[in-house]
């Protein structure tokens, strides 16, 4: 069965520092990978996605992620964070071969940016 592991439940960081949120997945077939962000009291919104092609994917708000097939990872990075990036970030996988588009989510990482 497919699964997604986000190793860090909480990541505190100071403003303007770099950040990496880790995500590992398990699947024996091709996968499609996503990062969603949930700001306080809001619904989830898509940050970026990897479907095929270049393994470095750029998303909104200056975030990027790199798909590493050999390490089954899809870590999210930002070189310099802002207070407004404080939110919960979810990594998700959609397994190839189907048309459902259903996502399996990790448990989330709460990013807290401090001044």
């Amino acid at each position: 069965a497919q699964s997604v592991t986000q190793l860090d439940s909480q990541v505190p960081v100071f403003e303007e520092a770099p950040v990496e949120l880790r995500c590992n997945y398990s699947s024996s077939v091709s996968v499609y990978l996503f990062w969603y962000v949930q700001y306080p009291n809001q619904g989830l919104q898509l940050l970026l996605k990897y479907l095929s092609g270049s393994t470095l994917v750029k998303g909104i708000n200056g975030f990027e992620a790199e798909f590493n097939k050999s390490q089954t990872s899809f870590h999210l990075r930002k070189p310099s964070v802002h207070i407004s990036d404080t939110a919960e970030y979810f990594c998700a996988v959609s397994v190839g071969g189907g048309s459902q588009g259903n996502l399996i989510f990790g448990k989330g990482t709460k990013l807290s940016v401090k001044p």
């Binding site: 439940s9 499609y32 996503f34 969603y36 009291n41 809001q42 619904g43 989830l44 919104q45 898509l46 996605k49 479907l51 979810f90 998700a92 959609s94 190839g96 189907g98 048309s99 459902q100 588009g101 259903n102 996502l103 399996i104 989510f105 990790g106 448990k107 989330g108």
Partner: protein, 115 residues
């Protein structure tokens, strides 16, 4: 344009009562999903609709949970004889056609509290 709308935003109910949660997807989106978000548990898939049919109900936790979708649009998630463990945020999402290249758009959720 209008996003995914869920109502009510908050619902407090007594144990044993039935509740109905409503989702209005983005107009024209054929795929609709229900997820449950519990504290520390991430997002748990409940059910997926393509049009009015539900090809995947595998995530419904018990027979107390049911969902329907009418007119290829509005969906209702019903929980009968609610239990305290049903307390969670119930999220609805829709996508254009449900494939992997069709991102999910989430509503802000319904926070259900069973007392």
């Amino acid at each position: 344009g209008a996003g995914v709308s869920q109502s009510p935003s908050n619902k407090v109910t007594e144990k044993g009562k039935d509740v109905e949660l409503r989702c209005d997807p983005i107009s024209g989106h054929t795929a609709l999903y229900w997820y449950r978000q519990s504290l520390g548990q991430g997002l748990e898939f409940l059910i997926y609709f393509q049009g009015n049919s539900a090809p995947d109900k595998s995530g419904l936790p018990s027979d107390r949970f049911s969902a329907e979708r009418t007119g290829g649009s509005v969906s209702t998630l019903t929980i009968q004889r609610t239990q305290q463990e049903d307390s969670a945020v119930y999220l609805c999402a829709s996508s254009l056609w449900g494939g992997h290249n069709s991102p999910l758009h989430f509503g802000n959720g319904t926070r259900l509290t069973v007392t």
